[in-house]
């Protein structure tokens, strides 16, 4: 059954998880991020939105596929570098990021599976924290099929009840994580469940922003492909790509070789995050570019999230975290762009 955990015992839970790499929100150089929790006693779940979403732990910004070495027989020796080591447990995952991981699951799954993603994903345990109040000024999860207390993608959901957390273990992985530190938890009382439910209900009324009536947006976007609308909306874009790099649902990547020794040749094949907002993302070696300008690239970002993904998976590829709005250096606001699409008269 559901448990409660006194906040003063929180670090004892983390200390009991020696079998895991424990990640938690940490403030380093004025930026909050999910980092390895070196000192459990210093960890607090009283934090705003992290800059980089939790996707970086299941889909790191940079990872190795394999090593290649020039060899006497067969020319080359390839050494697969699949992720191994301890499973990750991530504390304080916001519900919008848990939901986002269920969306990247769709991309990296399917008929052809991405082993590197799934090695991490299958072992990772996501301990979510319900948002009693919005962690960012641009939260709009309720508008895109999410909620500040959504359990989607999470293994455990914590709700802050003042001096203790209400703990819901949601999956087998989550139940194991709780049972591994059994003694620090106590049985929840009916009043705790009620209190958590009230916080959940109240949190829905506190959302910073909303994006209403967007069910016709996918169809609308289809008809706006050739519209000059995109030129106007993308005018201020400086092609920095932060909207996509720090989006919890964006998954685009590049693959390159890094050479460590020329003779004999040795190096590694590396995957890194990439973004559809860079001009050379789609540029052919001939110089031909199917998405040659900022307008085509902003259109791709919005269309992917609110049309193509919806056609493929019946869900928006946006969980309303608002990072792309908060962090855009020139103030491009996805809520306003989509509202204009919704209200567009062609």
């Amino acid at each position: 059954m559901d448990k409660i955990l006194a906040k003063k015992d929180f670090s004892r839970w983390l200390e009991a998880l020696g079998a895991y790499d424990v990640y938690a929100p940490r403030l380093i150089d004025d930026v909050w991020n999910y980092e390895l929790a070196a000192d459990p006693k210093a960890i607090s779940l009283d934090y705003p939105q992290t800059a980089i979403p939790a996707k970086k732990i299941v889909f790191p910004q940079r990872e190795f596929f394999f090593e290649f070495h020039e060899a006497d027989t067969d020319g080359y020796e390839l050494k697969e570098l699949l992720p191994g080591g301890k499973p990750a447990v991530i504390f304080g995952v916001r519900p919008c990021e848990g939901k986002a991981v269920t969306l990247t699951d769709l991309v990296f799954g399917g008929e052809i599976k991405d082993d590197y993603y799934w090695k991490r994903r299958n072992s990772a345990v996501l301990v979510g924290l319900a948002c009693a109040s919005p962690p960012s000024a641009n939260c709009f999860c309720l508008s895109v099929n999410g909620s500040p207390h959504s359990k989607e993608g999470l293994d455990v959901l914590l709700t802050d009840l003042g001096d203790h957390y209400y703990v819901e273990a949601l999956t087998d992985k989550g139940k194991k994580l709780v049972s591994e530190a059994g003694a620090v938890f106590h049985e929840a009382k009916p009043g705790d469940k009620k209190a958590a439910e009230k916080i959940h209900a109240d949190s829905e009324k506190k959302l910073s922003r909303e994006l209403k009536n967007i069910k016709d947006v996918p169809a609308k976007l289809k008809g706006m492909f050739a519209s000059p609308f995109w030129d106007d909306e993308s005018m201020s874009c400086i092609r920095c790509g932060i909207c996509t790099y720090l989006c919890p649902t964006c998954h685009c990547f590049d693959i390159n070789d890094e050479v460590e020794s020329q003779s004999p040749l040795a190096g590694r094949r590396v995957r890194t995050w990439d973004t559809c907002q860079f001009p050379d993302f789609t540029m052919h070696s001939s110089g031909h570019n199917p998405r040659p300008d900022k307008a085509a690239r902003l259109r791709q970002r919005i269309n992917h999230k609110f049309q193509y993904f919806v056609e493929a998976w019946q869900n928006y590829q946006c969980t309303g975290c608002g990072r792309c709005i908060t962090l855009c250096p020139v103030g491009i606001d996805i809520i306003k762009v989509v509202e204009k699409v919704r209200d567009h008269v062609s």
Binding site: F253, D257, V259
Partner: protein
């Protein structure tokens, strides 16, 4: 097949043939897997690795009926294709795939096939052409309309000479040359000039984007319906399996849902290729 889709299989280059020289050089490579390889279908592509340089998606130009080797005809363009051009017989490369869908050639049995290619665009349709020739009795008339900028830019020169005894071949170059006896002009103009019959015929066109567009227009003008016209699309690719996000046309990933499209299908997608 290895469970890890990103790990290439090693293969040896068993032959290298110069097709075209100069700054837009084209070479044809035949490769043989060192261990177990894969079988492909006409129109599919493979990701070639030159270790230390990276990967490039290249269409397989040999017929699936030929199992001794895989053939790739490659235009020297960027970092990886330039490195491929430096390979010699015996060099080891990595190959993963095959990727993408295929031309539905089984459903074309009993029909005529018109091939319309420009430049290196002959490579992706060469696999279909070779397969149709090997199973000639299953198909009707086979016709090739192929063009290049200049006569030295024509690929498969010897093969095209031999082909003339087996099927109808119309060649063209963009600008007149003293000894050129055949058509002068673009491939689309040659289509309009030769006016091949659209009756019971499938047309396959491949070449640079502008050539594909003009050829489709020309084919439509002489009576080919959208469902009778096929093309193969190229876009920049990294993963080959619909995950890295760059080759999409609308919700389609060219690497996975393409590269082969009928014009009836392709014209439904956003014009972003």
């Amino acid at each position: 097949m290895s469970a890890n889709v990103y790990l290439p299989k090693l293969a040896q280059v068993i032959s290298v043939k110069d097709e075209v020289g100069g700054v837009r050089a084209i070479k044809t490579f035949r490769t043989k897997f060192l261990a177990e390889g894969f079988t492909h279908r006409c129109g599919q592509c493979a990701m070639l690795s030159v270790f230390g340089k990276g990967e490039s998606m290249i269409s397989i130009s040999s017929s699936p009926l030929v199992t001794d080797y895989l053939q790739f005809s490659i235009l020297k363009m960027g970092r990886v294709t330039s490195a491929i051009h430096d390979l010699e017989v015996g060099s080891i490369i990595g190959i993963r795939g095959p990727y993408g869908n295929a031309f539905p050639i089984e459903s074309w049995k009993g029909k005529n096939i018109l091939f319309a290619g420009g430049g290196i665009g002959l490579a992706p349709i060469w696999s279909v052409l070779q397969t149709a020739l090997l199973q000639k009795k299953d198909y009707g008339d086979l016709t090739l309309i192929y063009g290049a900028r200049t006569s030295p830019d024509i690929v498969f020169k010897e093969e095209l000479r031999d082909l003339k005894s087996k099927m109808t071949v119309h060649l063209s170059i963009d600008v007149a040359e003293p000894d050129w006896k055949e058509f002068v002009g673009f491939v689309a103009q040659n289509i309009l000039d030769k006016k091949p019959s659209a009756v019971n015929t499938i047309a396959i066109t491949c070449g640079p984007p502008i050539m594909i567009k003009t050829c489709i227009k020309a084919l439509s003008e002489i009576g080919f319906k959208d469902e009778q016209i096929y093309t193969t699309v190229e876009n920049k690719m990294k993963c080959g399996i619909g995950k890295c996000g760059r080759c999409n046309i609308g919700r389609h990933y060219v690497c996975k849902d393409g590269p082969v499209y009928s014009w009836a299908e392709l014209r439904q997608l956003p014009q972003e290729y």
